[in-house]
C-alpha cells in the first residue's frame, strides 16, 4: 500500500532531475558570470587606458602650446630687456595670445633692472571680471625670489612646471606655473619668464573625461599634488599620498606612489562605493594622470544580463519540472495500477483485471510476469486442491484399511484353564506388516508371530494372506513345519516384489505340554520356565518365508511344563531406538523377563510391561517399525 505521507515515485524522480539540472544550471551560470566579468573588466580597462592615453595627449598638446608661447615670448624679452613698457607689453601679449594662460610675468634678478630689488612686469586676467590687468608682481609682501616657480629654474637652469599653489598677490586662485629661464651671453640666468595655468580650467578639461558616471579623472604634479579638484571635495594642491594615508587606503597609496615615480599601469582598490580600478600613466612634463572606474558600473550591464539569464533559467526549470513530472507520472501510472492488482491477487482474487499496457518495455514485461503469475497461481491452487482431496481420500482409505487389519487379528483370547494368551500390535504407520495368530485345534494350541519385510500397504497385503494361511493350515491340524512349508510355497510363488516374512509357528499339546515348532527366519522367542532362568530358544533358522519356494523347513521339539511362559515378539521391540540410535536389544529384553516381578505377571500384564519398557526406552523417539508382543502362559 502506498504510504500517504511518502512522496509519489514521479514526484521524487522529477525532484531528483530538477535538483541535478539546477546544479548544472548554477555551475554554468557561475562559469558564464565569472568569464563575462573577466571579459568585461578587461575590456573596460583597455578602453579606460585608451581614453587615458588620448586625454594625456590632449593635455600635453595644450601644455606644449603654453610652453611654446612662453619660449617665443622669452626671445622678445631678451631683445628688449631694458624697455619696461615693452616688457609689460610682452606679458600682456602672452596672456592674450594663448587662451589657456591666465597670467604671465617676467621676474628679473635683484638689482638687474635699473638697480631695482624687485622688477617683475605681470599681466593677468582678473579672476572676477576677466579683464586683462598689469602690475608689478614683486613687493615686500610678495617676495617672488623665495617662490618655487622662480627658484627651481634658477637653480637648475631648465624650464619647469611648478607644483600647484594659491597665488596670493597675483592671480588670487589655484594655479600651476610654467617657468622659463632667460640667460645672458655668458649663460647666467638673469630673469624667469612664466605663464600661469588655472587649475579650475585644468579640472574642467580633465573631469570632462569619464567613461562611467562615477568615474574620476585626476592629474597630479611631479611631487604628487592634485592639479585637479575631486568631484566632491576640492583637493587641488593637496598631496595624493597624504590623502590616501588619511583614508587608510593602502592600494590607493601604492597607486599614488607609482604615479609619482612616473610609472604607468592598472590597479584595483576599494573605495567607499565598492571595488574600483585605476589606470594611470605619466605625462611628458613629469605629471601623471589616472582614470578610476567603479566595477559596479563597469559590470552593471552584465549584471542585468545575468538577472535575465537567471529568470529565464528559473522559468525553464519550472517548465522542465512540470513536463518531467507529467511524463513520469504518465509512464509510471501502470505501476500504481499494478500495485492495486498485486494487492488484489494477494487477497485471493487471482482473476483480477491487469491494467492495459501499450508500450513495449519493462512495464510490459512486468504485466506479462504478473499475468503469468496469476495463471501459475491458479494452476498451483488447483493442483494443491486436487492433491489435498486425493490425500484426504487416501487417508480415509488407509483408516479403513487400518480398521480392517485390526479386525483381522484375533482379539478373543481363549478362556481356557490350560493356557492364557495376550497379544498386541502397534503399527508404525496406519497399516503394518506384523501379525500374530492362535487357534486351539483338538487340544493343541497353535500360535504364530510374523513380520513382513517393509511396512505400509504392500506389507499389509502379505501380512493379511500370511495370517489367513496360518489360521487355515493350523485348523487342518498340520505340524508347525508343514504349516510354514505350505505358506512359504504359496507366498514364494509370483513374488515379484521380493517380499518375505519372518515367521514363528508353534504347536503345544495342552495335555502333555510338548511343543513342536518351526522358526522361519524369525527372532528367537523367550522361554520362561517356572523354576529356572529365562532363555532365548535357539532354533534352526531355516529360511524366511517367501524367499525360496520348495524350501524344506525343519521342525523342532521342546518339552514344556505347567507354568512355563513364552514371550514372542517382532524386531520392532528389540530394534526400537533412542534418539542416539541405541537399540533396545535382545539382552535388555531378556533382563526384563528375568526380573522376579515380571515372572509373576500374567499374559496381559507381560504384554503391557514389555510395551511400557520399549516406550520408556525410546522416550518419544519416532517408532520406525511395527511392534508386536505376544505372551503365552501354560
Amino acid at each position: 500500500m502506498l504510504n500517504p505521507k511518502s512522496k509519489s515515485f514521479s514526484t521524487r524522480l522529477s525532484l531528483n532531475v530538477l535538483l541535478i539540472v539546477t546544479i548544472l544550471f548554477v555551475i554554468v551560470l557561475g562559469i558564464v558570470a565569472v568569464s563575462s566579468h573577466m571579459l568585461i573588466s578587461d575590456e573596460a580597462k583597455r578602453s579606460a587606458s585608451n581614453m587615458l592615453r588620448a586625454t594625456i595627449l590632449d593635455v600635453e598638446k595644450t601644455l606644449q602650446t603654453v610652453e611654446s608661447t612662453v619660449k617665443d615670448a622669452s626671445w622678445l624679452a631678451k631683445e628688449n630687456d631694458k624697455d619696461e613698457k615693452y616688457l609689460y607689453h610682452i606679458t600682456r601679449k602672452v596672456v592674450e595670445e594663448n587662451s589657456y594662460i591666465i597670467g604671465s610675468a617676467i621676474a628679473f634678478d635683484s638689482c638687474y633692472f635699473e638697480g631695482r630689488h624687485f622688477f617683475s612686469p605681470y599681466s593677468y586676467e582678473d579672476a572676477e571680471t576677466g579683464e586683462l590687468k598689469s602690475k608689478e608682481l614683486g613687493s615686500e609682501t610678495n617676495d617672488y625670489f623665495t617662490q618655487e616657480w622662480y627658484t627651481e629654474p634658477k637653480n637648475t637652469g631648465n624650464p619647469h612646471w611648478s607644483e600647484p599653489y594659491f597665488d596670493a598677490g597675483g592671480g588670487e586662485q589655484m594655479m600651476t606655473t610654467y617657468s622659463y629661464p632667460l640667460k645672458d651671453s655668458t649663460g647666467r640666468i638673469y630673469a624667469i619668464i612664466t605663464a600661469d595655468i588655472s587649475l579650475d580650467w585644468l579640472s574642467e578639461k580633465v573631469s570632462a573625461i569619464h567613461p562611467y558616471e562615477h568615474s574620476q579623472t585626476i592629474l597630479i604634479s611631479a611631487q604628487g599634488r592634485f592639479l585637479t579638484s575631486g568631484s566632491e571635495f576640492n583637493l587641488a594642491g593637496e598631496s595624493a599620498i597624504e590623502v590616501a594615508d588619511t583614508l587608510f587606503n593602502g592600494s590607493l597609496m601604492e597607486i599614488s606612489r607609482n604615479m609619482v615615480a612616473g610609472d604607468s599601469g592598472t590597479m584595483r582598490f576599494s573605495t567607499r562605493r565598492g571595488l574600483a580600478f585605476a589606470v594611470y600613466a605619466p605625462l611628458a612634463n613629469g605629471w601623471s594622470m589616472s582614470i578610476t572606474c567603479q566595477y559596479r558600473e563597469v559590470l552593471e550591464r552584465t549584471s542585468q544580463m545575468h538577472l535575465v539569464l537567471i529568470i529565464v533559467g528559473l522559468l525553464g526549470l519550472l517548465i522542465m519540472f512540470i513536463i518531467c513530472y507529467r511524463i513520469i507520472k504518465k509512464l509510471t501510472k501502470p505501476i500504481k495500477e499494478f500495485s492495486v492488482s498485486a494487492l488484489n491477487i494477494a487477497n485471493g482474487d487471482f482473476h483480477t483485471q491487469l491494467p492495459e499496457v501499450k508500450s513495449k518495455d519493462e512495464i510490459l514485461t512486468l504485466r506479462d510476469s504478473l499475468a503469468f503469475m496469476q495463471q501459475s497461481l491458479v494452476t498451483y491452487l488447483e493442483q494443491i486442491e486436487t492433491a489435498t482431496s486425493a490425500k484426504k481420500r487416501m487417508e480415509t482409505q488407509l483408516y479403513i484399511g487400518q480398521k480392517i487389519q485390526e479386525g483381522m487379528l484375533p482379539k478373543n483370547f481363549p478362556n481356557d484353564s490350560r493356557c492364557a494368551l495376550n497379544a498386541k500390535v502397534i503399527p508404525a504407520k496406519e497399516v503394518g506388516g506384523d501379525l500374530y495368530d492362535f487357534t486351539i485345534y483338538n487340544n493343541h494350541l497353535y500360535f504364530s508371530v510374523g513380520d513382513v519385510s517393509g511396512k505400509g500397504v504392500p506389507a499389509a497385503f502379505v501380512m493379511a494372506i500370511t495370517r489367513v494361511m496360518c489360521h487355515l493350515f493350523a485348523d487342518l491340524g498340520l505340524p508347525a513345519k508343514d504349516v510354514v512349508t505350505r505358506i512359504n510355497n504359496s507366498v514364494a510363488k509370483n513374488n515379484e516384489a521380493n517380499m518375505f516374512v519372518t515367521l514363528f509357528v508353534g504347536c503345544i499339546d495342552l495335555e502333555t505340554k510338548k511343543m513342536e515348532f518351526c522358526n522361519a527366519g524369525h527372532n528367537p522367542i523367550i522361554v520362561i520356565p517356572p523354576d529356572g532362568n529365562p532363555y532365548y530358544l535357539k532354533a534352526n533358522p531355516n529360511m524366511a518365508v517367501g524367499v525360496w519356494g520348495g524350501f524344506d523347513y525343519k521342525g523342532e521339539n521342546l518339552d514344556l511344563r505347567h507354568g512355563t511362559k513364552l514371550l514372542l515378539y517382532t524386531d520392532g521391540v528389540t530394534e526400537a531406538e533412542k534418539s542416539d540410535k541405541e537399540q533396545f536389544g535382545e539382552e535388555r529384553l531378556l533382563q526384563l523377563a528375568s526380573t522376579p516381578e515380571f515372572r509373576n505377571l500374567n499374559s496381559d500384564e507381560m504384554v503391557s510391561a514389555v510395551h511400557n519398557a520399549v516406550t520408556d526406552f525410546a522416550s518419544g523417539n519416532e517408532q520406525n517399525d511395527d511392534i508386536t508382543i505376544f505372551a503365552i502362559t501354560i
Binding site: 519385510s453 521380493n498 518375505f500 527366519g521 528367537p524 524367499v547 524386531d571 520406525n624
Partner: protein, 100 residues
C-alpha cells in the same frame, strides 16, 4: 548411508558405510540399481562399514542376489559386523547369499 561403487573390469567392488534402516532404505535402493543391470554381474561388497540393516534392507540384498543369479554372476558380502551377520543368519539369508 554411503555406497561407493568401483568397476575393476571383471568385478564390481562396492563399499558400504552407515546404517541401512527405514530412513536410508530408499536411497540405498537407488544407489544399487546400477548393480542390477549390465553384463558385469560379479559383485564383491565390503560390509565392514555397515552398522545395521533392517528387514527392508535384507529385502534389497535379496533382490540384488536374484538379479545377480539371473545374470549368472556371483555376489559376495565381505567383512560383515557380527550384529549384521546375525540378522542374515536368523532369517536364513546366509543360506542363499554368500557371506565370507
Amino acid at each position: 548411508m554411503e555406497v561407493k561403487i568401483e568397476n575393476t573390469g571383471t568385478q564390481t567392488l562396492v563399499v558400504l558405510k552407515g546404517r541401512l534402516d527405514t530412513t536410508t532404505a530408499d536411497k540405498f535402493m537407488q544407489d544399487i540399481t546400477p548393480l542390477m543391470q549390465g553384463d558385469n554381474p560379479d559383485i564383491e561388497m565390503d560390509c565392514a562399514g555397515l552398522e545395521y540393516t533392517s528387514s527392508q534392507g535384507l529385502r534389497m540384498f535379496l533382490m540384488l542376489q536374484k538379479s545377480v543369479t539371473s545374470r549368472k554372476g556371483n555376489l559376495v558380502l565381505k567383512d560383515m559386523k557380527p550384529n549384521v551377520k546375525e540378522v542374515f543368519d536368523i532369517t536364513g539369508f546366509s543360506n542363499i547369499i554368500k557371506i565370507v
